[in-house]
């Protein structure tokens, strides 16, 4: 039964991929993201210098052959810091969304699956978080938990739990009524099994779109936290932190803000293109 199910599943996903491939913008976004991921993984091999190689004699050097993106106020190579920074920034983005997705998704799925009182209680909890402005929540949490990468990811992640909870809940509600779920239940499959094998795979579409855009939002939130002095531990480079830290030099040394800023923009842009493309590809109504 499982294999049969898999076969059934492969069909629609291949169809989505086929549609996505036709969307040039989305493919562009995907390519950029794959490239970034590769850079992040192989940072040691790509970066010309270490991320903390200070040379106080070589501060504020503009882009040159030796330092492609110039150096910062401590004489560190900006290109290398951006390359290592992609690791941190992408991690923050993906893990923060991951936290929100796992918790929010679980809450949403349980709420929808059991309905009634459980649903009511869970959704009110979600409403509570939703009613607190996202940035305020993130900042209060960052202040409460203290500094560090993990805490930053938690602070950013918690605020987006409601979104995933609601999306998963509504898609599960739709899926739950479908025939194959009824069928599985009738042959005595357990709740957990039904959720894992049937409901989650089939309500993935909106979640994927939301997550793609969510990663973009998380990277921006990280830069906002850095702006407010709640960033990650130095000397680890993170794009938002680099941008925020360089803002005092924006008048004198343009390259210090421009390159980290551009990297953030390119990444967010790519994720958005990909997200939009996925939405179009996954939305059956837009089939044409």
């Amino acid at each position: 039964m499982v294999s049969k199910h898999n076969k059934k599943k492969r069909g629609p996903w291949r169809e989505v991929w086929r549609r996505l491939k036709k969307n040039k913008m989305a493919m562009g976004g995907l390519t950029v993201m794959i490239l970034l991921a590769l850079i992040a993984i192989f940072a040691e091999y790509v970066a010309p210098y270490g991320f903390d190689d200070q040379n106080l004699a070589n501060r504020f050097i503009g882009p040159s052959r030796e330092y492609l993106f110039g150096t910062d106020n401590l004489g560190r190579d900006i290109l290398s810091r951006i390359i290592y920074g992609s690791r941190v920034s992408l991690t923050v983005g993906f893990i923060a969304v991951g936290i929100a997705l796992v918790i929010g998704g679980a809450l949403g799925a349980v709420a929808a699956f059991y309905g009634g009182k459980v649903d009511n209680v869970i959704m009110r909890l979600v409403d509570i978080i939703l009613a607190i402005p996202g940035m305020l929540l993130a900042i209060s949490l960052a202040a409460a938990l203290g500094p560090g990468l993990t805490n930053m990811m938690i602070a950013i992640g918690v605020g987006s739990i409601p979104g995933y909870a609601r999306i998963v809940r509504s898609s599960v509600m739709t899926v739950k009524e479908q025939e194959y779920v009824e069928a599985a239940r009738s042959v005595g499959a357990s709740d957990l099994r039904i959720i894992m094998n049937h409901i989650i795979p089939n309500s993935l579409a909106p979640v994927i779109v939301q997550s793609t855009l969510g990663v973009a939002g998380a990277i921006l939130s990280a830069s906002a936290l850095s702006f407010l002095g709640l960033g990650i531990k130095p000397p680890n480079p993170e794009w938002g932190g680099m941008l925020a830290g360089a803002r005092q030099f924006i008048r004198d040394y343009w390259h210090m803000t421009t390159f980290p800023g551009l990297m953030i923009m390119i990444t967010i842009y790519a994720l958005n293109l990909l997200g939009d493309g996925l939405r179009d590809a996954l939305d059956p109504r837009l089939r044409s």
Binding site: A131, P133, M135, Y164, S170, A224, G261, I266
Partner: protein, 332 residues
Amino acid sequence: MYKYILKRLLMMVPVLLGVIMVIFIIIEITPGDPARIMLGESATEEAVARMREEMGLNRNIVVRFLDYVRGVVLRFDFGTSYRTKQPVIGEIISRFPTTFKLAGLTTIISVVMGISLGIVSATKQYTIFDSLATGIALFGVSIPNFWQGLMSIIIFSIWLRWLPASGSYGPEYWILPAATLGTSASAVIMRMTRSSLLEVIRQDYIRTARSKGQTEMKVIMYHGLKNALIPVLTVIGMQFGFLLGGSVLIESVFAIPGLGKYMIDAIGQRDFPVVQGGVLFLAITFSFVNLFVDILYSYLDPRIKSQYKRDSKETHKKDIRQKEVLNGKQAQ
């Protein structure tokens, strides 16, 4: 309908109580002694101890929680700021017009930009115009707010000397901050307009209108937009609600005395009554804006009205998705 509104209002009560509780818990685990921060590092230990007693910080958290709730409900008392010794509600209300104005202007800019770009890209789907419009809108989402703000100050205030760099003393002061926030917010509206219009255009009645020989412009404007804009309206409402929470970074960059900046400073200074009162106030505002949008929505789209009697949540699937996208960006 009234029954529905009443039900929603009642539902707000546990949510708001929950908000207070969440904030109390976060504050409880936050390191930092408000009495110490308030008195300054050089204050004597005895003075700090006396202040702690005076501020009621030594009482049990449950007692403080109940006390607070009683104050809010019975006297509309949101507490007194540790730092300035003034009632929190007064300070919030004095900042609210500023935030309201910034939110309003930002919404206008994003609506004008978002809807027009959305129309262009939907009517010219898959053309260069579509890509261009999408591109412009996405630019706004991608650029970190504070960077854009700083750059626009450099360009428009320093180089061109067209606009003032910071403050909020007249119409010209609002242009840069509202435009900075507006460009990012417009992308969401643009997307919503685009997809919603695309959907509507495929409907039968549009085809009918076209076949009647009306100009394309007329068809889109009269028949298309009228229906396509309904979901867009929800997004606009949501966005306005979020903006009322204040945009911390932009307020900092442009030295605007809004709510967001006020709250962030309060967190840094451990001015907990301000944090509590502020978050509660924003949560109430947000809930009401939410309710208002839902009601508006049901009036505009009679199909939905009937469903409200059952459960309002289901119809919102799409809006919520948009809302979350907004959430991420507004987080800045």
